[in-house]
Amino acid sequence: MMDRLFKVVLTGLLLIVAFFQAVQVVTRYVFEIPVMGLEEMLIYPTLWLYVLGSVNASREDSQIRANVLEIFLKTPRGRLKLSVLAEVISLGIVGWLTWWGWDFFRYSLRVWKESPTLYVPTFYSDCAVFIGLVLMTLWTVASLIKHLRALAADKVSSGVEVNNG
């Protein structure tokens, strides 16, 4: 369900952005009549694309990582512990960034700035930062819980093995 939603939304946003740009090329170079405000309108789907793409990367656990230490860990349990540590740290950082995203959200709502040509409130794109960071925080929490459960289950199964042995 969630996967299908992201497929539709991300593909839709990408195609809207590509279509707007292509229209700009045709109107500017073929008909020599640039469409006023088109580039301004592009900003909204573009910024939402970036933010929602990143939210999906968090959901799929495909954010870019270096994972250098993981190579030196021999056991799956060691790697699991490292994942939990990385997620606890991530949660602290993303939580702090979300706080500043909220600050930006309130600022944008208060100022209610409008785009120069079409007078569309920039809040509609600015709010993406806070919403995106909240969703990324929630996915980090979900991932942390999943790994903690796996760690607990691993402990139980190791205990059983020891008892059986």
Partner: protein, 432 residues
């Protein structure tokens, strides 16, 4: 003040090592700058998010989407068959097909992954059928796939040009010379290496037969070959910006994929859209936080302090260039190309200017080094994807991949650093 910048960088490296996602690593660096360095987050989000709205960066998702559409549309198959007709009767010719096709695909896509994703599934089994060891075929295509980052357009060069305020069109051309050099080196190495394999060659044909075969395959390949002409002709003909060219390539690829090559379906389009959107989102959020951190570092004069510190150790240009190359190589081993550029390009730029390396030449140096990172473990995303597509163990691919790297890549890294014309001649020819 410099101490807090160093601490921020140290924290960033520690978080990277622990496997914290890159955007949060930069977030950790920002926290250090705020809590220790006295920097402020007030207005930082507003400024950083405003920077992301740059039309220049919009070229990245569009080139990534064009590449992913191409991977699933069947365009690669037509290109392969076209190149194959010229070399299929030469021993080692199929290996040359792999390398040259990756270069052509590089002129359509801006990513290093498209070559292996589009060509690997078709060519690896075919090369094995003709007598190439599977691990070798996988290593050759994975290494050649990096040409996607060096033959323009290139996503990494868009990021480099943007973060260092250098002409993106000049940066595109800066990596073209090294890219063509690498393509030639891989092709030549393959022709020598292939002598050892018991290869099955196509039956010889008469000249008339060759002409008819070549023309029929060329006809099928025309819609695919139009794409690089459209992109590069549009950009360098002054008709389109890179972003507009990327958008036009997406709009062009859709009917070609759906109705001409028929490999693209509604389902695969949505899959490609999600893949491209997710990849771009992961990059952009990282760029947002890295920009905020860079701005804080610049405000504390950290890049100049770094130059002074390095000049305190040595001022020898040759030694400094070697050190920079080694550092970029090591960085490429642990992070991906775009991350490496965001991390070090703004920091090293003052040093490069101090030793008379132009920003355009540095684009080529950093481009070649970070591209090579895609096949150097532990962070060897292109090599790992290749191993998955080729259905071989990574350990089997590493040996041939490293030999190809040593023969085809490392000499070009040094040539790019010490022979400026390799990266500057083509941009100069085009007036940059």
């Amino acid at each position: 003040m410099v101490e807090s910048a160093l601490l921020a960088f140290g924290v960033l490296v520690v978080l990277l090592t622990l496997g914290v996602p890159l955007p949060y690593c930069f977030g950790g660096g920002i926290m250090v700058m705020v809590f220790v360095g006295g920097a402020t987050m007030k207005g930082a989000m507003l400024w950083g998010f405003g920077q992301l709205a740059s039309p220049v960066l919009l070229a990245i998702p569009l080139f990534v989407l064009a590449g992913t559409i191409m991977s699933s549309s069947g365009i690669a198959g037509a290109l392969l068959k076209f190149v194959d007709v010229f070399v299929s009767r030469i021993k080692g010719g199929l290996g040359v097909v792999a390398t040259v096709s990756c270069a052509i695909i590089g002129a359509i896509s801006g990513s290093g992954l498209t070559g292996i994703a589009a060509i690997g599934p078709i060519l690896i089994p075919e090369m094995e059928r003709k007598g190439y060891p599977r691990a070798y075929a996988t290593a050759l295509i994975a290494n050649s796939s990096i040409l996607g980052l060096l033959i323009p357009p290139s996503v990494t060069m868009i990021v480099y040009g943007w973060v260092t305020d250098t002409s993106i069109l000049a940066c595109f051309l800066a990596t073209l010379g090294p890219g063509l050099f690498i393509m030639t080196a891989f092709s030549a190495t393959n022709l020598v290496w292939a002598r050892k394999f018991p290869l099955v060659l196509d039956e010889p044909v008469s000249f008339g037969g060759f002409v008819s075969e070549a023309s029929s395959r060329a006809l099928i390949a025309v819609p695919a070959l139009v794409m690089p002409v459209l992109i590069l002709g549009g950009i360098y003909g002054g008709v389109m910006t890179p972003t507009e060219a990327a958008a036009v390539s997406v709009i062009y690829a859709l009917p070609v994929g759906f109705f001409i090559y028929r490999g693209l379906t509604v389902r695969s389009l949505f899959e490609a859209g999600k893949e491209a959107g997710t990849a771009v989102g992961a990059i952009m959020i990282m760029i947002l936080f890295s920009l905020i951190l860079s701005q804080m570092l610049v405000l504390q004069n950290a890049p100049q302090a770094l130059v002074d510190m390095i000049f305190g150790i040595t001022t020898d240009r040759t030694l400094l260039l070697i050190l920079v190359n080694v550092m970029l190589f090591l960085l490429g081993m642990v992070v991906n190309d775009i991350t490496a550029i965001i991390l070090v390009a703004p920091l090293l730029m003052p040093l490069m200017q101090a030793i008379d390396v132009s920003p355009v030449q540095f684009a080529a140096i950093i481009g070649v080094n970070t591209a090579m990172g895609g096949v150097t473990p532990p962070y060897a995303s292109i090599l790992y994807l290749g191993a998955r597509i080729g259905k071989v163990k990574v350990t089997q691919v590493i040996r041939p991949a490293m030999i190809l790297l040593a023969v085809g890549y490392v000499p070009v890294v040094f040539l790019t650093s010490f022979w400026p014309s390799l990266s500057l001649a083509i941009p100069k020819f085009f007036g940059y």
